[in-house]
């Protein structure tokens, strides 16, 4: 018995020793560019990471290395990846990043998924002088944060942008006589839903829409039928749900079952997921949601094909995926233009340069792109961007939404 205890103690010691050596890491000659990321492999954020972030990071690294690596000056240097799991926790994410910076001494860091985590690590990346290309964060504080942390770039825009674009589209459609002026709105009681409904509420009132229903529901609600039934009874022209993926699917399913079919049916995160199309098939037709992309552009078609080849047939989502990939292209182009590992110069280039990406030419102003897709719609099995209608490649929305089909 005692010997087993001593063995165990020895094993634990060895484990601690291994931990210590692995923590200290080893310095390396510049034969590779070290790129690190800490993302949510587990925890509540894992669902978003698995669809939007990880496939794009992996695909980009694969593609760059297949081409010989990043072009630094006249030679190509392959990418070496250091990856951690932040377990969807702000504390873990902060510590993992500090480890990437001080222990692994990575050259560049790719951001985590989601608004909360990107905000939590903002000061760390800022202090260490790493570029921070937040491709999955939507926050109204983005312009202010970009001033506070000049190394941070907020590629997905502000919730006010999302809400205002949606309302502008509604105003236009009402002007064309396609919809009336009653709106029902529900939102998830989480950062995303509250920000968006908070921005949409005054915009709708200002545009003289009648807000007949305006409620929030907590994260983890498993049956949304009471809400759908209430809303159905009010018979609004427009239904807006600022929801998360599980609820987006639940709300859509429940609306179909209850036969609630408003002229405009708009749902939140998850509408742009391939899962949505897979689950609802022909019933996805006409559903609007946050995001969208120029589905007809050759760059996007090519991206879709490469993504499917890289991710074992999985498709990207039609919102933040392409933006995430574009952020990696921007980082790559900035690094290659600078021609060496000079993070300050790369940040400068990101602030001022023009980039050729899958989502078109991007030139940032005040650390934010000038063009976003905010409203998309499923049309013939593709989630096309329909708003802002001034965007290149914007499709005209199909109205009214076709009736649900029996399955």
């Amino acid at each position: 018995m005692v010997s087993s205890i001593t063995r165990l103690a020895a094993g634990l010691l060895a484990l601690a020793g291994a931990a210590a050596t692995s923590l200290s890491g080893t310095a390396q000659a510049q034969t590779s560019v070290k790129i690190g990321y800490a993302i949510s492999r587990t925890g509540p954020g894992a669902g978003g990471v698995a669809v939007t972030t990880l496939p794009n990071y992996e695909m980009w690294v694969k593609e760059v290395n297949a081409a010989g690596g990043l072009k630094l000056g006249d030679k190509r240097v392959p990418i070496e990846v250091v990856e951690y799991d932040d377990r969807s926790s702000a504390e873990e994410a902060a510590r993992a990043l500090e480890r990437l910076i001080t222990q692994d001494k990575v050259d560049f860091i790719l951001p985590p998924w989601g608004t909360g985590l990107n905000l939590a690590i903002g000061p760390i990346l800022n202090k260490a002088g790493y570029p921070h290309l937040a491709a999955t964060a939507v926050t109204d504080r983005a312009p202010e944060l970009a001033k506070r942390w000049p190394n941070s770039f907020w590629l997905l825009g502000t919730s006010a942008g999302a809400a205002n674009t949606l309302v502008e589209l509604l105003v236009k459609l009402r002007g064309e006589g396609k919809i009336g002026d009653t709106v029902a709105m529900v939102s998830i009681a989480d950062g995303f839903g509250i920000d968006l409904s908070g921005a949409a509420r005054p915009a709708l009132t200002k545009a003289r829409f009648k807000l007949v229903y305006d409620k929030s529901y907590p994260v983890g609600t498993q049956d949304l039928s009471p809400i759908i039934n209430d809303v159905k009874g009010l018979n609004p022209d427009v239904f807006i749900a600022f929801s998360y993926p599980p609820d987006t699917l639940g709300i859509t399913e429940q609306s179909r079952i209850a036969g609630f079919n408003p002229k405009i049916f708009y749902t939140g995160v998850g509408t742009a997921f391939p899962l949505f199309k897979q689950k609802f098939g022909a019933n996805a037709e006409g559903v609007m949601g946050i995001g969208g992309w120029s589905g007809d552009s050759p760059a996007i078609k090519d991206y879709l094909a490469r993504h499917k080849a890289s991710a074992k047939g999985a498709e990207p989502d039609r919102w933040a995926s392409a933006v995430t990939y574009a952020s990696l292209q921007m980082l790559q182009q900035a690094i290659e233009r600078v021609g060496k590992i000079d993070r300050a110069a790369v940040i400068k280039d990101l602030q001022t340069g023009t980039f050729d990406t899958v989502i078109g030419k991007v030139k940032m102003e005040n650390n934010m792109p000038t063009r976003f897709w905010w409203v998309g719609q499923w049309q013939d099995g593709e989630f096309y961007g329909v708003g802002p209608s001034t965007n290149e490649g914007a499709r005209a929305p199909i109205l009214p939404k076709p009736a649900w089909k029996a399955m």
Binding site: V2, S22, L23, R99, T102, G122
Partner: protein, 316 residues
Amino acid sequence: MMTRSDVSIVVAALAGVAVLALVPVMVDAYYLSLAISLLQFTVLATAWGMFSGPTRYVSLATTAFFGVGAYTVAVLGEVLAWPLVLAVAAVLGALMAAVVGLSTLRLSGVHFVIFTFGLAELVRQIVVWYEVNVTRVLGRYVFVDITQKDIYWQLLGLAVAVFLTGWLIARSRLGFALRIIGEDEVVARHCGINVTVAKVALFTISATFMTLVGALMSPRWTYIEPSIAFNATISFQVVVMALLGGAHRLWGPALGAVPLTLLFEFLSARFPATSTLIMGVVFLLIVYALPAGVVGLWERLKAWRPARRDTSGAKA
């Protein structure tokens, strides 16, 4: 009166604290944040063990108090002076614990577990509802002027305080009463011990420390939202750490908190894709190999030497 060994323990403890206080000036940002993590869980687990060890109540409310502390800072951090903020947090935590303790401590062990978990969720839901309907923003930004080093030193101070408190309680009438309650509550009642007062007092002290940890930690993140502040996994981690270390000794929970924090860190760094699976296996191995926690192992090792010579002294 202090015995000689007491004196040497005090001297050793003082020296240890002095060394630990020098850590931030010697290490880089990563080790500093690892040290902060270690201290955070040490204080939480020790505070947890302080109440749950003697009473054998498994509480899952850690995150409720932690979150209240963190939120107090998020709300008042830019309005009040820092010590005042901490004081408000401590008072809030203590008040909440006293109310909860008075209403729940008559529940039997099994139900107390779930009750405390429900409490953590209830507090979180209420905060969410309030933010959504009253302030209309969910998620607050904490821009206070506190460095990582400050956080470390404050946590270290708190760790010293929690051990000192635990040590004092063990030597007081309260500690004696608690030990009797832990052995047999009926006997304790018959001895004239006011069981409820003793339990509530201890629960409140323990919860105050947890609240303070939350308050001290929150400047580490720029952004606080309920899912960050009221993270249920913290409750579970603390329970598991304390139980693994051995909750019936004051220093037991720390012996679980330190190795487990390091283990989690090591696994999530070394095996990011499969860390969950490996963590599970390692965890089971520990559970089966250390039936009485780290403290139990230590006590068995200590008991082993004299037991060879003195056959009558062997005790289970």
